[in-house]
């Protein structure tokens, strides 16, 4: 019968396909008795998380262990399922970059119940008593730095903010920005809109804001991808010379835009450092050492003056030999 034949053929294809992935992705069990860890990101469609993952992976592989990296695609329910899959597989610890800082609670409770330590990376969670520790950039300071950099060139700036308001890291950045901006009496925040934290999300919103606020002279998108979206909208409207863009991130793309004169500043985070510290803290915990709860990784302001120096430093960090196990 034809149907059965096709079903069989598809079965065979699947087997071939799967055994293919198996070889490329060498299943953890095959590689000795190393421990297994998992990390779940809100998205991998952002170079920040790719760098963070590299920093983490270097430490874990230097210990002879393995890391499974999963992408939750901004979907809280998928993230919950991803984390549950990792915990039931028997990982020794999970690194979580939450989509929704409140919605992650169920996963943290599951970790508590199963005795799997959870380390939160980049964006904090609300129920901090349920996690081992949180490792993130000093996001409030990042927002302050952006406002200060803006004030130096335009103390009377009329600003719009492109937010990603489900994310606590971004909430902190905006809070820091607002706090610092309030120190300049002539600076005014016209509006805060959702820019979705992505290039394709920020572009149309920026275009709309340009139409609504002809007087606007500056924009604070909360990360490099949304800054690139805003810049693209400003360019196509011929307004890039009138509007100053300041942001937070420090990705290669963002610094590239600074060097091209399109972006004024980015408060650079150190994603590799976040990944490295997060992994080391988990190892310290597994060795029975106490770990502090709230770990802030410093940020630094990057403008045209120090863009080249920053890029060089970044590159040497990427090629650095990871610390020896137990170091």
């Amino acid at each position: 019968m034809k149907t059965r034949g096709v079903a069989a053929a598809i079965g065979v294809l699947l087997v071939l396909g799967m055994s293919g992935c198996g070889k490329q992705q060498a299943a953890p069990e095959e590689k000795g008795k190393g421990r297994l860890f998992g990390v779940v990101y809100q998205t991998m469609n952002n170079p920040f998380f790719v760098d963070l993952n590299d920093g983490m992976k270097q430490v874990i592989e230097a210990h002879g262990d393995q890391l499974i990296t999963l992408d939750s695609q901004f979907n809280s329910l998928k993230q919950k399922n991803d984390i549950s899959d990792l915990m039931l597989k028997g990982v020794s610890g999970v690194f979580i970059n939450p989509v929704n800082w409140e919605g992650i609670k169920g996963s943290l409770l599951q970790g508590k119940e199963k005795g799997v330590p959870c380390v939160v990376i980049d964006a904090p969670v609300k129920d901090e008593d349920l996690v081992l520790c949180q490792v993130a950039s000093d996001n409030v300071e990042a927002g302050r730095l952006a406002a200060r950099a803006l004030a130096q060139v335009k103390p009377d700036a009329k600003v719009v903010i492109l937010h990603l308001s489900v994310n606590k890291a971004c909430i902190d950045r905006v809070a820091g920005f607002q706090e610092e901006a309030a120190k300049y009496p002539d600076m005014k925040i016209l509006d805060i809109q959702e820019g979705k934290g992505s290039t394709e999300g920020a572009r149309p919103v920026m275009r709309d804001l340009l139409g609504r606020f002809p007087e606007l002279t500056a924009v604070f998108p909360i990360n490099d991808p949304s800054a690139l979206g805003a810049i693209s909208a400003l360019e196509s409207a011929g307004k890039l010379n009138d509007v100053t863009v300041v942001t937070v991130d420090g990705s290669a793309e963002g610094v590239g835009a600074i060097k091209a004169g399109k972006l004024h500043s980015t408060s650079a985070q150190s994603p590799r450092e976040i990944g490295r510290v997060a992994a080391e803290k988990l190892y310290e915990h597994l060795e029975g050492k106490p770990v502090e709860k709230d770990i802030k990784i410093p940020v630094e302001l990057v403008t045209k003056e120090n863009a080249d120096a920053y890029l060089q430093k970044r590159e040497s960090a990427a090629s650095a030999v990871p610390a020896a196990p137990g170091a």
Binding site: F74, D85, L88, E102
Partner: protein, 314 residues
């Protein structure tokens, strides 16, 4: 039931997938992991049961993801704005959620039945309207469920006798009800008739308008229930959640053998389709397959399943 023969390759695929993934994930078939699997598929399966009816009658509902988010925010709004401490506020909250969903379903259904606008366009529009309405709550920020709302939180996180997750029980009840409706009632036969040939169904005296409205309401109401489970599992209503859920539900429906042109399909097929999608998600995750490759494998499986569907009808 019309035919159970098409279920054989689906069951076969499930067995093959489980055995395959077991090579890389030794504890794949542990009771705990399997219970977790059923819990993970519950939201998608409940939406997919309703979507089966819609697709079977020749329609489509793209609004389910956005309606899911709106139901979550609306029900948590009722839950929290009452100010009451009683967990029984879950009852009016849930009723409000289902009512909002049914309203959208009725809107979709009436437009689909009374106008010549394709359902794809109608539900694309209601998707945007529902999303906007959801984002209107709390300025688009998540709305946490207070800890004392134990009944509402139990809907997504509770376990009956410590074993059976509540969402799975809800999924099984939804399955039985929709399967009986489709396969053992006159209305169910009408659905097949409408999907097979709208004009023939109309001429033979089937009340096509009423039935069309009914399928969209059932689909939306089930989405409402799924939305409250989703909200409960996330301990908060998330106005931006549910994006892409319509595609995941459609995937379960077509993998389960329902024809996109209507008239062919069964409810057990959809349940098996949702299980296949769930096994793929879990298996690929637990086998440590790179996330980029996961998309490709899922795409191939969906394509393969629809390929079988096309050949079957030749």
């Amino acid at each position: 039931m019309r035919t159970t023969r098409h279920l054989v390759p689906l069951v076969g695929a499930i067995v093959v997938l489980l055995l395959l993934f077991r090579l890389w994930v030794p504890n794949l078939l542990s009771p705990e992991n399997l219970i977790d699997l059923t819990q993970q598929i519950s939201v998608n399966a409940i939406i997919a049961f309703g979507m089966t009816l819609v697709i079977l009658t020749g329609g489509i509902d793209l609004s389910v993801g956005a309606v899911l988010a709106l139901v979550g925010t609306a029900s948590v709004f009722v839950l929290t704005s009452s100010g009451g401490q009683s967990p029984w506020w879950a009852i009016p909250a849930m009723l409000a959620g289902v009512a909002v969903a049914a309203l959208f379903g009725a809107f979709n259904g009436i437009f689909a039945a009374k106008t010549k606008i394709p359902p794809f366009i109608i539900t694309l529009a209601t998707m945007l309207i529902a999303r906007g309405a959801a984002l209107g709550f709390n300025e688009g920020r998540p709305m946490p469920i207070p800890d004392h709302q134990t009944i509402f939180l139990g809907l997504g996180n509770g376990r009956i006798a410590g074993v059976l997750p509540v969402p799975v029980l809800v999924m099984l009840i939804a399955f039985v009800l929709t399967a009986v409706l489709l396969h053992y009632t006159k209305i169910g036969r009408h659905f097949y008739g409408i999907g097979g040939s709208f004009e023939a169904a109309r001429l033979s005296g089937i009340p096509v308008g009423r039935n069309t409205v009914l399928v969209y309401i059932v689909c939306a109401a089930l989405t409402g229930i799924a939305g409250m489970i989703n909200t409960s599992q996330l301990y908060s209503a998330e106005p931006s959640s549910g994006a892409g859920f319509e595609l995941n539900a459609i995937a379960a429906v077509v993998v389960g053998g329902t024809s996109f042109s209507g008239g062919i399909g069964t409810m057990p097929g959809t349940l098996l389709g949702a299980i296949i999608i769930g096994i793929l998600d879990k298996g690929l995750n637990q086998a440590g397959v790179h996330f980029s490759l996961q998309y490709v494998v899922k795409g191939l499986v969906i394509l393969g399943a629809v390929f079988i569907d096309v050949l079957r009808r030749k």
